[in-house]
Amino acid sequence: MKNNQTESLSTSPMVHVVDDDEAVLDAVGMLLDSIGQRNTCYKDAQVFLEAYNSADFDNHNGCIMLDMRMPVISGIECQHRLEQMGCSMPIIFVTGHGDVPTAVEAMKQGAIEFIQKPFREQQLIDAIQKALQINLKSQKRIEKVQETQAKLKLLTNREVQILEAVVSGKANKVIAIELHLSQRTVEIHRAHVMEKMGVKSLAELVKIVIDASPTE
């Protein structure tokens, strides 16, 4: 494993390059260095997955370039395992032996690009930039959701009850009757909920709660 760090900023995204062809690793590593893109090269999927599972691995910020045909663990298999581990980094496949069923399978599994060798350097750079953009967007979304979930944990049981009723569109009067409370009490709880969730309007409250609720 070779670590080409052109920038030491821990916040800049990392491109993980996995290919059993050393010449490709060198070429891609050099290409990415030349545009100032942090990257790490791995000589096969096993080495990469070991690194992925290590404690200090940043498994959010970046993207992965996977070769399709590698010994022991293929690119597709590696993609499966990453998905099982809940990897959110976008995957770009690069292959010298592309066939239609493999390409379709890889894309169905959520790969964002499938590039055939030989490729133009610009093609790869474009794909990586697109992948990093997608990654950044999903990062931001996940961060927001986590923020909301942390705030939800601060609510008392009663406040959670009131929140659920408010979000489902019930008026204070209705909530008061259903929970056997006075309307004034509901109003106070409701104000606390808004304050704790850091929102100023009902619309805002509904939006962040819906965004943070698990999608089926």
């Binding site: 592309g98 066939d99 239609v100 390409a103 379709v104 894309m107 169905k108 499938f114 055939q116």
Partner: protein, 133 residues
Amino acid sequence: MESKINVANKQLVKPIVYLVDGDHKLQVSLSKLLNQNNVAVEMFSSAEDLLQTKLRTRAACLIVEVNLPNMDGIQLLEHINNLGVRLPTIVLSSDGNVSVAVRAMKAKAIDFIEKPFVENTLVKKVLDIIELN
């Protein structure tokens, strides 16, 4: 009387599959197979033909060949996506290569099938899509 109404209702809710492919033989045999499975088929031989029709809400899926005169099948799919219509799509291709397949999948096709294919496999995929809806 009641059963008659039920039958009529069933006729109404019969899902529709749009098939866009210039191959007449395929049109005939696929629509026969799908009809047997209680699925209605509307056939078109070009992308423009389909776009001139009003897409119906009971449309369950689109089956489209890549090679069409003028606008190709994937462009058609992209166009439909841009209209904000969500129509599950299976792309067929008689001279499929990897880059075409990738283009189709990027345009959010559910599947990409190379010709020749076993028709029952396609019918099964269509029925799966209808079930999911």
